[in-house]
Symmetry: C2
């Protein structure tokens, strides 16, 4: 930190020295437009002295490479700022930092005086977006790429095929997209344009075609690729349909197909999936069983390794390094492959020890509805990886957040990715030692707001969805409820036992609109903790808690008529009632604490029963204030009060 | 109204009979996409029985005509709906009605059973958008065209040139856009694409090139057209620069230019402006004075009429009917012209009496920050027009709302147009007898929400602007203040005496973000009125008022720190303080009313003084709750209480 600040006003302009190409010009134009949106200042070409001097030494790679230098140095002083980097990629990262520095102050918009020397910890900082289970149009992907650039991520892992849809136009095998996408796919021209868009923003695009499992959508057009009898449809669940790795025709198909895709996707890495091969079709197919016996294969894993070896050779011929989920790890595969760990950090460490490069996704699944802090706590170098030697550690390239699309649509995908993805992005960019959670949340709030100016709809879409449910814009009481609940976690929304998910159902319930993480509940919990630390004496904190609790207690009366008149909200009636009860319980607990009275055990037992009932949730939502309110109720026991004083 | 309702669920689909063309297919695709956004249901092509049967008799005109049939009949029953119309234009209007009917009910989305036979009262229902003073990009215009279609307007009056900018690419005279637009203009290809977009949505595009006044932007490239010496720049105020109507070269220029534009804009009408010709340059130019003497012209109005006659002939040669502001009305002009009245309803009636067709815009200026009810009360057939005979009345084609762009940017233009423009649209579509204001506001609220699904940002942009001002998303207290203020009215923000407006200044103040009309203040006024009608006894109403008043009284303490730390909000500190005082005054007044006590005159005098001071406003904003709170204070006088009991 330096002294003072640099004003951002109408006289702001940018000058460039060093290398200069169309990509850098585009960067700067976008930067000025963003700064203009953020500040509302309509900048015009100026003749005055430029306020921001930009200097890049040499050009970027035509196709961005993993490990390409992303470092930059940014210096802001009252009179002006300079940003220098080895190449325009570092300039991109530095411009994002500059935008984060600009804030409204008493004297106008300004960036504080600072000197920053910055570079990423990991070369591979990615976000997977699954476009198979729910198709996500390119405009939505583009704004998410903008968001990734804003938090300095550098890989979009595009999960392009799965059981529920094949999303890429293939000219060699047109029945893939014609029969496997219900008309929802990207043309090759669109893909090329999108990759250029991402490259301009410093984001590599790594395609994934998930084989041999997760491949039902291929078999609608080409059933001969499958290990089972068919017929196949996009509907239905499970991961049973699987490619037949024993037929040469499968490899002939894949050779042609992968050659086509290798040309379409310029990145040096190519993801072949490889996860969750349950092998039921293999077990049931006598020809496949005979093949395995013939080749001395002892398990389906051996068969998959054989398949992967063949794939790897095809990819190598097309100048691609193969990436796959951790199931592909097998001693017969060459060390050039990259293993993406989703089942645990152990497999990442194992791969590194065996000489394989790896990526961490375990702990970064955004679809599991975890709070940002939980993702933030997961570090690719911690747990099993902590014991690796330096050489082994160097094989850990980074990680990827994963947005699996069972429960997201173009409407709500932004709010499932953001702002939590920013916490993963920081984990992968910043030193391992940066891990203060309070500080992370403070900065996450700021980033969340910035992402609005980037064009993401994570906050606004939520409001619109509540409008839809309520049938009115008068949603004050509905917001109160929606802000203290969270979706159920992990796979609790739809356990496998429920059978196949209906991917054509509307996603318009409260669970689809609310934040994966309740800021209000977290803040209330912080209040309860601070109140306990004050020996239940801090009156300012108590007043804040009482205001919240009274709001919750009284909310049901206002909200009930809204909930009852809407088919989309009726399931939330019990939640609203429970919130009211929780508010009342919390207020009564505070009354006892105020009077230093120990309530009868029967009162406490009744409250705890009510709270535990509320905690179970309803409509796939959890009432996140139940926990902290239970802490208040329990504090009314003499022993609890003593222990904190 | 019939009985029951038609469910809108995943089985919904549309079938078409009668004429069928690409335009109708596009209509239906957009309709289904809108319905899907609104309900969140991902409709897919269905094989089941279609729920909505559409039938159009014959095709639309290739270029939409004023007076083209827009009628339709819509019948909704439990089993299904039918929509029929003479042509796809009527289908467009009927589909918008259908979308308005769909709402969330206890059993899901549904449209109530109804039979509707509908057609517009006026053939010309327009919105003028000024893109000269602030350039408005095409994506913003497009979503506003979508909004116009949603409220069944049918003319976009595109105010394309004015002193501050010339916004159309001219191939014949490229210095018009090159030197007159600061690079912000529409290419001819963009214009053609935009006109097709509007035509698809049943909207005619009528271009306006405002001459001979309001034309400074022309003179940067072509100073020889002007009546004064120049040099000219886009900066600066006034309307002095004016074309020279006495030189033949001016008409040679205009002949070429208008021929080019007549081809670019297919509509049969062409607007030449003609307003506010102050004539100072004419008075100061000896050659022009000599010309007038030579031709026996007694006034500048005669000279303008001469100019307009020449223009009218050029336009007629290009098969265009001339439209102009009411200043063009002059007995020497043929009856084919259309007069747009902005200075009063009298001029509309006068034109109709003289045999001219006319449009009303007086009373529909959205930039004057009037409440919707005030625009809604203005009817083209009322006031001076009420005394016209049937023949004369038939010459009144309709009206246009006007969005002059002194104070709008691409960011906030939606919120200056919507939802108020919907009130003007209804005025021009529905019978004159439909004028209940309470009902209008109920429907306006519903339409405002619907316009969010159309894609307009009138509500969301306001929130983002408050985020920017506050530098945080935590804007609860800021919203409380922002929702009880309105911008100053008419031209009070910038009286002519202040000199030229700076059109390059950021529009990021509170006045730029707030609604032209405070719903909260209107609702509070309704409460005060209802409370008075109850003899100051209705406790439920009083409780609602007290909650509001306490919120206002206590808001300043929360808001002050936010206001003080932002350069954009500091000017609002006095407003926040005044609101707090108003809240306290209102609460004290209620205390007196509760106790049936008459407070000392000195108390009342002090409150009235405080209220009147608050009423003056600050930062170009008016505190709209001052009025109703004064009513409460005055009611504490014995006489007031008696008079209402």
């Amino acid at each position: 930190m330096g002294a003072g600040q640099m004003a951002i006003d109408r006289s702001f302009s940018v000058a460039v020295s060093g290398v200069h190409d169309a990509s850098l010009d585009g960067e700067i134009q976008r930067f000025v437009a963003r700064l203009s949106r953020q500040t509302g200042i309509p900048f015009r070409p100026m003749t005055s002295t430029p306020k921001l001097q930009i200097h890049a030494e040499h050009k970027r790679e035509k196709v961005q490479k993993p490990g390409e230098d992303e470092s930059y140095e940014l210096s802001v002083a009252e009179a002006g700022a300079t940003l220098s980097a080895p190449n325009p990629l570092g300039i991109l990262r530095g411009l994002e930092t500059f935008l984060q520095l600009v804030e409204i102050t008493r004297s106008g918009f300004a960036a504080p005086a600072v000197t920053i020397k910055d570079q990423p910890r990991f070369p591979w900082r990615g976000l997977l977006i699954d476009v198979s289970r729910h198709f996500i149009p390119l405009d939505v992907l583009k704004r998410n790429v903008d968001g990734m650039a804003a938090v300095k991520m550098n890989v979009l892992h595009w999960h392009l095929s799965d059981d529920q849809g094949f999303r890429v136009e293939s000219k060699k095998f047109p029945k893939l997209h014609e029969m496997g996408s219900e008309g929802m796919f990207y043309t090759q021209a669109e893909i090329r344009e999108f990759i250029a868009y991402a490259q301009d923003r410093g984001i590599r695009v790594v395609p994934e075609f998930d084989i041999p499992g997760h491949s039902r959508s291929w078999f609608l057009g080409y059933p001969e690729l499958s290990s089972g009898p068919g017929p196949y449809s996009l509907e239905g669940g499970g991961v049973d349909p699987i490619m037949d790795p024993t037929r040469e025709s499968t490899y002939k198909f894949l050779e042609k197909f992968l050659a086509e895709m290798a040309k379409l996707f310029p990145d040096a890495y190519f993801h072949i999936g490889g996860d969750e091969v349950d092998g039921k079709q293999w077990n049931a197919n006598p020809k496949i069983q005979a093949f395995m016996r013939e080749h001395g294969m002892k398990s389906n894993q051996d068969l998959q390794a054989y398949f992967n070896q063949r794939l790897q050779k095809i990819l190598a011929k097309n100048h691609k390094s193969m990436v796959g989920w951790d199931e592909i790890l097998h001693p017969e595969l060459p060390k050039t492959i990259v293993v993406q760990s989703w089942r645990g950090q152990e497999s990442l460490a194992t791969a590194a020890r065996q000489g394989y490069r790896g990526l961490l996704s375990f702990g970064y699944y955004l679809d599991l509805m975890w709070p940002a802090a939980r993702h933030y706590a997961v570090d690719p170098m911690s747990d099993a990886a902590a014991t690796l030697n330096a050489d082994e550690k160097s094989r850990i390239l980074g990680g990827e957040a994963c947005m699996w699309a069972e429960w997201v649509t173009p409407e709500n995908i932004d709010s499932h990715i953001w702002p939590r993805n920013a916490a993963v992005a920081e984990r992968l960019w910043s030193p391992q030692t940066i891990k203060d959670v309070q500080s992370m949340y403070t900065r996450l709030n700021a980033v969340s707001l910035e992402l609005e100016w980037v064009g993401l709809r994570h906050r606004l879409a939520r409001i619109q969805m509540l409008h839809r449910m309520a049938g009115t814009a008068d949603i004050a009481a509905l917001r109160v409820l929606s802000e203290v609940v969270e979706p159920v976690k992990d796979y609790d929304r739809w356990p496998d036992s429920k059978g196949p998910i209906d991917f054509h159902a509307p996603l318009t319930r409260m669970i689809d609109a609310v934040s994966p993480e309740s800021d209000v509940a977290r803040q209330f919990h912080d209040l309860v903790t601070a109140f306990a630390q004050s020996g239940y004496k801090d009156q300012a904190i108590e007043a804040q808690m009482r205001a919240r609790l009274a709001l919750w207690r009284d909310n049901d009366a206002k909200l009930r008529p809204v909930l009852e008149q809407s088919a989309l909200l009726q399931e939330d009636v019990p939640l609203s009632k429970d919130l009211s009860g929780l508010g009342a319980a919390g207020l009564e607990a505070l009354d006892y604490l105020d009077k230093s009275q120990t309530p009868p055990d029967s009162w406490r037992a009744a409250q705890v029963a009510l709270i535990e009932e509320a905690k179970k949730g309803n409509a796939d939502l959890l009432l996140m204030v139940a926990g902290p309110i239970r802490e208040l109720v329990e504090a009314t026991a003499t022993s609890a009060r003593h222990s904190t004083q």
